[in-house]
Symmetry: C2
Subunit: 599 residues, 2 copies
Amino acid sequence: MPVFQAPTRDTRFVVNEVLGLESYGHLPGFEAATRDLTDSVIEEAGRFVNEVVAPLNLSGDQEGCTRHPDGSVTTPKGFKEAYARYVEAGWGTLAAPEVYGGQGLPHVIGFVMEEYLASANQAFAMYPGLANGAISAIASKGSPEQQATYLPKMVSGEWLGTMNLTEPHCGTDLGLIRTRAEPQADGSYAITGTKIFISAGDHDLCENIIHLVLAKTPGAPESSKGISLFIVPKFLVNADGSLGDRNAVSVGSIEHKMGIHGNATCVMNYDGAKGWLVGEENKGLAAMFIMMNAARLGVGIQGLAQAEASYQNAVTYALERRQGRALTGPAEPQQKADPLLVHPDVRRMLMDAKMFIGGMRALCLWGALQVDLSHKAATEEERQAADDLISLLTPVIKGYGTDMGYKTATDMQQVWGGHGYIAENGMDQFVRDARIAMIYEGANGVQAMDLVGRKLALNGGRAIQRLFAVIDAECAEDSADETVKLVAERLAKATGHLKAATMWFLQNGMANPNAIGAGAYAYMTLTGVVSLGLMWLRMAKVSAAALGQDGADKAFYEAKLLCARHWALRFAPQAGALRYEVEAGPETVMAMTAEQFAA
Amino acid sequence: MPVFQAPTRDTRFVVNEVLGLESYGHLPGFEAATRDLTDSVIEEAGRFVNEVVAPLNLSGDQEGCTRHPDGSVTTPKGFKEAYARYVEAGWGTLAAPEVYGGQGLPHVIGFVMEEYLASANQAFAMYPGLANGAISAIASKGSPEQQATYLPKMVSGEWLGTMNLTEPHCGTDLGLIRTRAEPQADGSYAITGTKIFISAGDHDLCENIIHLVLAKTPGAPESSKGISLFIVPKFLVNADGSLGDRNAVSVGSIEHKMGIHGNATCVMNYDGAKGWLVGEENKGLAAMFIMMNAARLGVGIQGLAQAEASYQNAVTYALERRQGRALTGPAEPQQKADPLLVHPDVRRMLMDAKMFIGGMRALCLWGALQVDLSHKAATEEERQAADDLISLLTPVIKGYGTDMGYKTATDMQQVWGGHGYIAENGMDQFVRDARIAMIYEGANGVQAMDLVGRKLALNGGRAIQRLFAVIDAECAEDSADETVKLVAERLAKATGHLKAATMWFLQNGMANPNAIGAGAYAYMTLTGVVSLGLMWLRMAKVSAAALGQDGADKAFYEAKLLCARHWALRFAPQAGALRYEVEAGPETVMAMTAEQFAA
């Protein structure tokens, strides 16, 4: 049975010491987030997922979800009870607005819980996770009546929500959708069509499910300029808030997937189901992107989460399993063999993982802080700056974070050797679950194009210039600490490569858009490498300072400095190769004909 | 249903035009391998796997193997019939020695069949694949009686074989095995113990299975110097060659694995089973390495094979699936969307795959030629040179080949987007099947240590110097062709990084063995990048020359030149980053304490 303990110590380090969350206490929405409160929320959240959610991960994978002959769907054993406890404890309400019954804490704290849940059990985490996107869309684009009708129950977790975008013939290209919405006399719409890959599409966790559905009204323009967003509840809601008739939406089947078996990925059939327009007709894409951006950050966190869960199990195994001897002579001569941890290549994989996890956690929580500041900072300029940074980094957190999450889960499985390939040990589940995060909510290639094709160019490149300014300032600070100096030097160099790649796009992208497309992925990865470096430079500074204090937890801060050095010495060099890949241009990528590919 | 067509055109290009197999016709064992013959064997082999083996891949994954209450094991539907046709056609005999009923063709041709089988159905391919290792061990270390008793039936495929090494508490560290071999009055041994992860451990494909089992005789030294190798047949063989009593070996269970479900991975219980010593007592490791080296090359080929199979399906999908528009404007304006193939990032993944597959195929077949030449070349010096090269490159073909096979299968799944995550489409099977190849027959970290810790140092570094000499000579040849010049220049530069990394080990490895261990993996990858480059330089030269001929298949050779440029422009830059990772040394890898890892 795999182990899991929420990494609360590391979370508190980031929240308190790196981000200094308490220092924002003068801003609205941050007042309640005192260190005492956030520390206790973090510890309680960790306890909850450790005890209630993590134990259902492997069994949920093995059992999967079931569609019964009557069309109803049940989740794996224990999910319903665990979700009831989740709702009862109010875990879904942490960062939700108080006006809908939320606790109004910063998103930073909401992200912490998202990470823990996804680490403990990604399939389970997706049920409330998907609802978050639906809540965001209704909160920002719904009418006051819609908000009053749906949000309190969704925020409390009594009802859950879904995002219905993909159809059999289209996913990325939503302009092609065929689901129709016919206006009805009562102001509602009749929704008809088939949606696929609908995560948490139906289940037994709660009494109602609020589907957010993209569809086309009669005469709507072809292309994504003709799509509208609708609320389609599983059970209609009466004026008094009680549940009414079952709506004409049903589950055609549950998909057989590589992983996340505990989440019911459904084919949804809408047969004239009653729906209500969210916002305006033909403006569905904007509303959809509100859901999507929240979801993308959530998916990036899943990359971190699977890396963390698999790392913990790899460390456990590396300490227990004895095989071979240290290269420098037996470490434990009284035993017949040394623990795996003596082997440099096992340590390399664990260090790569620990470096990624620590850096990525900081990046995700720093990103969450930007989400908060984009709404709550004192000045418009500060809000704009935070929004620029998180808009720029959302595709990086999603794309690079999930690529590295999968790579880490694969490496951690590798630490287990042959036993990692055996289903009962759970290491292959981390890999299979991590795999989906590279695909859904916009495949990682789409993230790369969002970064380079959209975010880079917006407002004359203001967002990337802001990031460079942040990095340059961070690198320019003097330090007597050897590690800080090393990391600053290597980060400056890696950022130089990122600047060069950015300049290359500027010079070549206008003339040939394929130059952008062919280099986008390498650029996203390069931005990821640099972003991790920025986080490690900050953490190195905090750790070096902490080590100068009496009574500091030496082992903890020294481990941070080691990870920072590991980034500088062994990861930063990737930046050059990635920049050269960008600068290689589109030639070899675009030249091959269809016949040559197929030959 | 996934598609598969054996890539016979590309194989013939490598065998005939790149390796020039026919030019070795003066050597013993090569005489029969005329171009006419090998071309027809390649085409026939392709037809056989396309029609008989490939159609069982997805169904075999879904059905898996079954252990029945009586302890017998059955393979998925169709495997038994397909294997009977394989034996009937003599496909297992291609490269086996004529003295045992083989066809005595070069290993190059045997490798071709191994690749095709593994591409079409890796789980199926492993049944005869494992037998190859057992055959090699008996052929080189068995007594004449053992050879006469077992080899003709094993070569014909009437009997299959297995390799029994791993035990529950040890895999890599075979010195720890506990299986006992008690000498009996009749000269046999009574074998008692439990072996795990035994691929093709039992099944219904053939009438007898010859297990090769590592065990310890009484009083044998602890450590790998005390292990011996035994032949333990499932059914004892009478003096007249007929089958006698069932031996005391049974299947405890079949493992539930991430992939290769069609192969019965068994827990084998030996309860005083009758076994016969192969070679001398306590010399089992040497015999085991004979099996292992053959098996490692076979596993490297599996990396190539899964890359090829997944690539074909990704290309098919990229041509059929329409989503979005080309960045330069609609490519097919009359359609609602363009095929995926217009998107640069989709093309990037396909080009990376095509480049890897073409380069890796050449590397594997060139490796096979070295195996042949190590036995058959005219002079001892030539035999030694070939042996040096293949010994050096075996861990690279296994380690780098399977890493890239998994990466490629993952990328090809990515081309399919959400549909790639759905089991029925088969793209996730390629990933799951490819994953095991990084683990078995020595995890890839073990390959890296074999390369750097063993192969690099042997005979004063003679093998790597030979590789450098081959590359330097290849780069030094003048060419008027622009691509050849570019690839030669980039290969020389990448090789410069490999030389520097080699020198770094030389200077630092003696003083600190952990310096070797911490850099070994990056070095193996670097050697892989360079080896692919060497192959692409050769293929670029052949292709440039062919394009100068009348009636040349322009599209084919131009595609080769594009792949060569793709290596030079987009892969070669990795060499620098990998060299710097080696030179970063062991510091950050070795410093973390167990407590810090576990914190």
